[in-house]
Symmetry: C2
Subunit: 328 residues, 2 copies
């Protein structure tokens, strides 16, 4: 069961390993938004995204014997990096199943962290699930799911504990808390933590256009799925549907979702560059984009947003910088 | 007199106003450098550079009556932003003398913080000193010098207090501490703080090629000047010579200076983008550049570097990103 006790236990295990990211702000962003914006930059977390929290939480929760056998994940992205670093730090073998056509840099980075990468050929119809299950059985590896996994949600929730503390230090007890949302692990973890420690901070998920499964699911009250699984620059937060574990949490605690365009995200990346000196990836800038450009859907005087990750390549970042001509 | 007592008093005044920036790292940077690198990102400080520390320290040290009359500074850069925000927060009028051909964005940003900008025409031979002195006398304003000013040095030194604490938390008691160095306010402040709280961290200034006045002054034992005052992309740390107050401190506490090229700085900016998710300006990346590319001049197993600022425009940042083709 995902609950606050699991999050507090994760926070104990992560102490001294996870970075306590600061809470940043800029008067220039406040002016654009017409309200106070506070930014939680998880792009500054180890491996460049909040995913290290969940990875470290999950790997450290395993009993030593199980951990020594190793872990496996299906990911070429931020989840892989987070789990790879955590496994490497704790001496656990780690295997990642990635498409052969994944960016070379991501494959190289994961290997550089000491992990084993097994490639599958999407085009030739190889199934990553079959490949993964075979490996898992053969070596008795533990699968670390990216979001529908209580210890991963607990790890992401540690970010919520920090936000609750940092908001209290600033005397903030009422705010809307916008979270970049894929499968809902980060959003549900933060929601659980805030419900316990800062119930006046109301979580609302933010998603990219065309991938608003959580927003629609919250509206209808049941799990809705997206038509596609790719084709948006917000690659880090494209998921088919909210998770079986995350959705009930989201449903219980979250306000309505917000939806942002690719252009919103690029412009938010440019503002994060100019005003916060931060590198955000497109999906990582979704919540900031909502705060800056969709204020008509917000009601609180103070909005806290996550920048969930900063793993973006130079050409995409340059695309974002080009929007400054329009907005600065 | 600049001393540790002045720094501790400044830290008390800055509490709750200055950001405690984190100490970051990346295994990828360690690998390039062949040693452990820790990064103190003052680009995340209010106004995008460490200069807010000194500005707030100086403005808050004034007695209320003097402060109410206002402050004045000669700067179009990071010092102006830092003083402007501090003055605005404390209700002090602030006047900045800037060249009429300074970047419009810098002028606009300073005005947006509530400050008055008085422009002078460099080409027409107007003297900013005469203009400034006239204004200062007429309105009884207090001049805030960018580095040769004890309360400014004390403010910059608060960054050193944080570094001493953060290094101790990591169990680090011996390291080389590389500081991006212009007139020496930041470097001397950090040196004073570390001498008191972490004497095993040895400060070394880092300067751009052609503007290595501090490095040459440390070598000769007396104040040396640069031939030029402009013509290098590291605009934030181009100064004619070490200060009369800063140099004796630098001479007493610092190891030999290091000198980096413009290309070193651009490449370091690209690495900060890729591995730390930080936006550094060219001069702000000088110390990281020394750690990454001039390791033959270092001896410690651990090197701590400042990223002193992140106020860079998009075209210059794009130039930095273009170096990734060569180094990634």
């Amino acid at each position: 069961m995902s609950d606050i006790a699991l999050i507090r236990a994760a926070a104990e295990r992560l102490k001294g390993h996870v970075r306590r990211t600061p809470l940043l702000s800029s008067p220039f962003l406040d002016e654009i938004a017409g309200r106070r914006i506070l930014v939680k930059p998880e792009c500054l977390q180890h491996t460049g995204s909040f995913k290290y929290r969940g990875g470290r939480s999950a790997v450290s929760a395993l009993d030593p014997e199980t951990r020594a056998k190793g872990v496996i994940a299906f990911s070429s992205g931020n989840h892989a990096q987070g789990v790879a670093l955590a496994a490497c730090q704790m001496g656990a073998p780690a295997v990642f199943i990635m498409p052969a056509d994944a960016p070379q840099l991501k494959i190289a980075n994961t290997r550089a962290l000491g992990a084993e990468v097994v490639l599958y050929d999407r085009a030739a119809g190889e199934s990553r699930e079959e490949l993964g299950e075979a490996l898992q059985a053969e070596r008795d590896l533990t699968l670390i799911r990216p979001y529908d996994e209580p210890q991963v949600i607990a790890g992401q929730g540690t970010c919520g504990l920090e936000i609750a503390e940092q908001a209290a230090e600033l005397g903030i007890h009422e705010a809307e808390m916008l979270v970049c949302c894929g499968g809902g692990g980060f959003t549900s973890g933060i929601a659980l933590a805030l419900e316990a420690d800062a119930p006046g901070l109301k979580v609302r998920p933010v998603e990219p256009e065309g991938f608003d499964d959580v927003t629609r699911s919250l509206a209808s009250g049941r799990i809705e799925t997206n038509a596609g699984v790719s084709g948006n620059i917000c690659d880090a937060i494209l998921t088919p549907a909210p998770g079986k574990i995350t959705f009930p949490i989201l449903k219980r605690f979250c306000g309505p979702g917000l939806v942002v365009s690719e252009d919103d995200c690029l412009r938010a990346m440019a503002h994060a560059f100019q005003r916060l000196k931060l590198v955000a990836e497109p999906g990582g800038a979704a919540a900031l984009a909502a705060a800056l450009f969709h204020g008509d859907q917000l009601s609180a005087d103070t909005v806290i947003v996550t920048i969930s990750g900063g793993n973006v390549d130079a050409p995409m970042f340059q695309r974002a910088l080009q929007t400054l001509g329009d907005t600065s």
